[in-house]
Amino acid sequence: MEGLEGYRGVARGLLERYGVEVGDVIEVNTGTRKIVGTLVPRYIYDDEFHIVLKLPNGYNIGLDARKILSLKLVKKGEQPAFKVPEPPRTREDLPRVAVISTGGTIASRVDYRTGAVHPAISAKELYALVPELSSIARIDPEVFMSIYSENVEPDHWSRLAKRVEEAVNEGYDGIVITHGTDTMGYTAAALSFALEGIPVPVVIVGAQRSSDRPSSDAALNLIAAVDFASKANLSGVYVAMHYGKSDDIIAFHLGTRVRKNHTSSRDAFKSIGTAPAALWQEGNVSLMLNFLPTRKEVGRFVSKPKFDGSVSLLKFYPNMQENFLRAVLGCGIKAVVVEGSGLGHINSRNIKHLTEFINKGGFVFMASQCIWGRVNMNVYETGRDLLNSGVVPLATMISETAYVKAMWALANSSSREEVIDLMRRNIAHEYLERTLE
């Protein structure tokens, strides 16, 4: 920490005049009292009038720079030397798990001097913060990328799939990917298709409460993910998150059937239309579904990592404007996944625009905005009209998965028929034979 991070305008001017920096201990004379504290960084969007001091008792206060009579440097700041404690020794016979981080922090430490939160990056740090890991697996953590999950794009999925392919061929017994939770479901679906036939489990894991707080769900989710990846006799792509609001059971959801259903709670992720694939509690894995692929021995695993980004996901709503739909369909996309109402409908006056799009070579796939249930376009006239136009119904595929799959199908087909065939084929349990929920 150095410089005047986050300070601008009046406050920065004052600090520069006295030559003090973030991390320095300074004495501020406000006219009525003298206050000693450590200068801490300011958030970039905060106003330009206040300086922030961390008092010896740990509290921060903001002081109006315009009211400050003078400043005095008491002590230059020191770089805090963090000594990572010796991690517990891991046994050589434990399974090997690659922990690939994509952003967000599954483990972090706080610099109480300035309040900054630092992610734990090395295996050593990870072991030190989550020491349970050392008795579960030999982990190799790597920072693959560091972005907020809302910024994840098809190109990231492709690179991630390639990296997992490499890891599998390097001989890891399982792969754990840490991921921000916002778009974790999309990434899970993308990897489910790109890694079709993968011989080991890939577990995507995140946290709903940030890892710097003692109550974070990050550590338990990670422990369960690493444990599962190292020993479960399953292959395929899963999402591991809290099953309920308690710190006991972790659910493993199929990558194609999982959805984030709550903005903030620990149990935001639910399997749609099915039970979770498995539940984990204190190291015990209970399988909840009987059709899951087991681990396989393969010579060399090859992924199908390509995605074609020219697809849109469109939610139908009452009064959807024809202009709007025409603009969307005319923006250069090759396919659209419609989140129709109910069994898979849109308003009649817009059907002609879909027909026109299809006639020009576009693809229209129909999922439902109901979240639960099966698309069935034979029941009502609108549905039948849409079918006649060439709209492809996607039965029990959830819309987010359908959107991702359309990108993958476009990139991995050479003809119109092949795209539709791929979309209709059940590749990673995106279709359910029986609807039970």
Binding site: T32, R33, I35, D46, D47, H50, V52, L55, N57, G58, Y59, N60, I61, G62, L63, D64, K67, P80, A81, F82, K83, V84, P85, P88, A107, S108, R109, V110, D111, Y112, G115, V117, A120, E125, A128, L129, V130, P131, E132, Q208, R209, S211, D212, R213, P214, S215, S216, A219, L220, G244, K245, S246, D247, D248, T263, S264, S265, R266
Partner: protein, 631 residues
């Protein structure tokens, strides 16, 4: 030895008062403050202690946590939402609570900061679902006026209250979430040297200043005091959570004895030439169990072991009491209990426990202990013995230094018990979910106008204006009834001392007689006393009416008066009653003359049951008695 004096031992006491605000809602969400004992929902959580401080990580502590307990949070939807469950980020702090805290700060002459930053203070005992308490400094400095002195204020903070502890068993700690998130102001005062009684009075004065703002909650559990107590040469001991004011002086007195007692023990040890307490740990082998004091034998089974710490050359010191009830043995037992074992037995009490000299000799030989070594014995589960031994040894070794830095809790009798070692520097970092709050000059100015007159002045003014004693005025103030009192006196014209006695004494009597506090409302008092001033009831009827309504047997004073049949009696009727009683008791009057008056007065009043004014009865009765006496 008698209790030492504050100045002699260099007593310093810093008060920290935690007071709930009366905003009626929580600080970081919109939940109301509701207390019920029904909690249909539970969640089970674990907090990871050292995750956030890699620089000072203690792997042993982490592993201890791994074996550790769950926290079970019990909640209902009336008083808690996802914020308390740590399932949703906090909302912006309640403006009303911030304004109340600023008002309190101004009443304490404290200087409000220009920008409030909410912090996360790490608390991993489970009492906060998040693992931290949200807290912010509102103001710095200031002072409290106390009998001509100024007691310095260090800071005024606004924070969220913790979850309520419901209990603990081997597997879990249980908490209720209804209290979590209620706004608290914390006032920390400079440490002062004063007598235990004065410390208590300072706390009382501070409490009154808080109440004078009208922004704080009342009732048990709404105010908690922490006391930071030290004596010369000793560490600061924090006594946490004193809820009753009357306990403060007792706690301070006990700590004075305990801390100076520990210093005396340390001095005696050093006098003996001991520089460091030498200890070794020995497990007592089963073949020796028959030589143990009976009290230990009964606890031993396959899961348990008997541990022994041999402390070289300090026989006699474990049971030595520099003050009555203060001894190292008790300190060690408290440490043992805080580590969830029943206690300890030491060699200084072998005789008292009826252990014969032969058994003791056998034990000493087997444990390689000399005559002048002290033995500390305990029974515990095998896997916990190391932790407990270490805790006991650490405490034992500190006895040569004196007073260890500890967090202690008060007992119901005003003693204190060891809870845990004092935490190091507070670990805090910013609550990034809440933007900082700029406090402008305008905000301060508008709140300044609401700063109350100091309570001592209010009490003086009311006392002289309405001709009541200062004590009485203070009682009215403490019960929050000053305004009601002056309003009733002004509107009814009834004399001040009488109105005060109704509000203070008559109400207290009614409560003792079974009235419910919630039914004795301000408006009941107002209406009843205005009926009196309109002569629609008598003075004597006032207590009866309050009781009737207070018990829920009448919904209004009017109805109570009807039900009781205590509308004033017409004068003729009063005369008739008096005449009849006088006739019946004519013998008494002829025998005792004027002296019969008070007995007969009582009988008449009983018969008229509040329907006749006392002074009227007295006049009529006097007249009748005189008539008879004169013949």
């Amino acid at each position: 030895m008698s209790t030492p004096r504050a100045e002699e031992i260099g007593l310093r006491v810093g008060l920290e008062v935690h007071q709930q605000l009366s905003t009626g809602r929580k600080l970081f969400c919109s939940c109301p403050v509701v207390k019920t004992e029904e909690f249909p929902f539970t969640v089970k959580r674990k907090l990871r202690p050292s995750q956030s401080e890699l620089g000072h990580i203690d792997p042993a502590a982490v592993f201890e946590f791994l074996k550790g307990k769950f926290n079970i949070y019990m909640w209902n939807k009336e008083s808690s939402c996802l914020v308390e469950l740590d399932e949703e980020p906090p909302h912006n702090p309640d403006i009303e609570a911030i304004e109340a805290a600023i008002l309190i700060a101004l009443a304490l002459n404290s200087e409000v900061v220009d920008e409030i930053h909410v912090m996360r203070k790490i608390v991993i005992d489970g009492s906060n679902t998040s693992g931290f308490q949200r807290t912010a400094i509102i103001a710095l400095g200031g002072y409290l006026e106390f009998s001509g002195r100024r007691i310095g204020v260090q800071a005024v903070t606004l924070e969220e209250d913790a979850a309520r502890v419901l209990g603990e068993d081997e597997k879990a700690r249980y908490f209720a979430l209804d209290r979590l998130g209620i706004p608290l102001v914390e006032i920390s005062l400079d440490p002062v040297t004063a007598s235990p009684k004065e410390i208590e009075e300072i706390a009382l004065a501070l409490g009154r200043t808080l109440r004078s703002t009208g922004k704080v909650a009342r009732g048990l559990g709404t105010i908690r005091q922490d006391l930071n107590i030290s004596v010369s040469g000793g560490a600061v001991v924090e006594v946490k959570g004193v809820q009753k004011l009357e306990l403060i002086s007792k706690v301070v007195e006990y700590e004075m004895k305990r801390q100076s007692g520990l210093n005396i023990i340390a001095a005696k040890l050093r006098e003996k030439g001991i520089k460091e307490i030498e200890v070794k740990y020995k497990e007592v082998q089963p073949e020796l169990f028959s030589f143990l004091p009976d009290i230990l034998k009964k606890d031993v089974d396959g899961k348990h072991l008997v541990g022994c710490i041999v402390a070289k050359k300090i026989a006699g010191f474990i049971g030595y009491e520099p003050y009555s009830g203060i001894r190292l043995g008790k300190e060690l037992a408290e440490v043992a209990r805080a580590n969830s074992i029943g206690g300890i037995i030491h060699s200084d009490e072998f005789q008292k426990l009826g252990l014969d000299i032969n058994s003791e000799r056998k034990l000493r030989v087997a444990l390689e202990a000399d005559e002048d070594d002290a033995l500390i014995l305990f029974v515990c589960e095998r896997e916990r013995s190391e932790k407990i031994t270490n805790a006991l040894i650490e405490r034992l070794k500190y006895s040569i230094v004196g007073v260890p830095p500890e967090t202690r809790g008060p007992t119901a009798e005003g003693e204190t018990r060891y809870m845990r070692p004092r935490p190091g520097a507070e670990r805090m970092y910013p609550e990034t979910d809440i933007p900082e709050i700029v406090i402008t000059r305008e905000i301060i100015d508008s709140i300044s106008r609401k700063v109350p007159v100091p309570w001592a002045e209010t009490v003086k003014t009311v006392s002289s204006k309405y001709n009541i004693k200062e004590d009485t005025a203070l009682r009215l103030f403490d019960e929050g009834k000053i305004e009601l009192f002056s309003e009733i006196v002004e509107s009814t014209g009834l004399p001040g001392p009488y109105v005060a006695s109704v509000i203070v004494d008559t109400v207290a009597w009614a409560l003792r007689e079974g009235a419910e506090e919630s039914r004795i409302t301000d408006s009941l008092l107002r209406e009843t006393l205005s009926m009196l001033s309109a002569s629609r009831i008598t003075k004597e009827a006032v207590p009866e009416i309050l009781l009737k309504v207070g018990k829920g047997e009448a919904s209004s004073p009017e109805q109570a008066a009807d039900l009781l049949g205590i509308r004033p009696m017409p004068e003729e009727e009063v005369e008739k009653v008096v005449e009849r009683i006088v006739r019946e008791r004519i013998n008494l009057i002829t025998e005792r003359g004027d002296k019969a008056f008070s007995a007969l007065m009582g009988e008449v009043m009983k018969e008229t049951r509040g329907r006749a004014k006392g002074e009227n009865v007295a006049l009529i009765l006097k007249k009748k008695i005189e008539e008879i006496s004169r013949g």
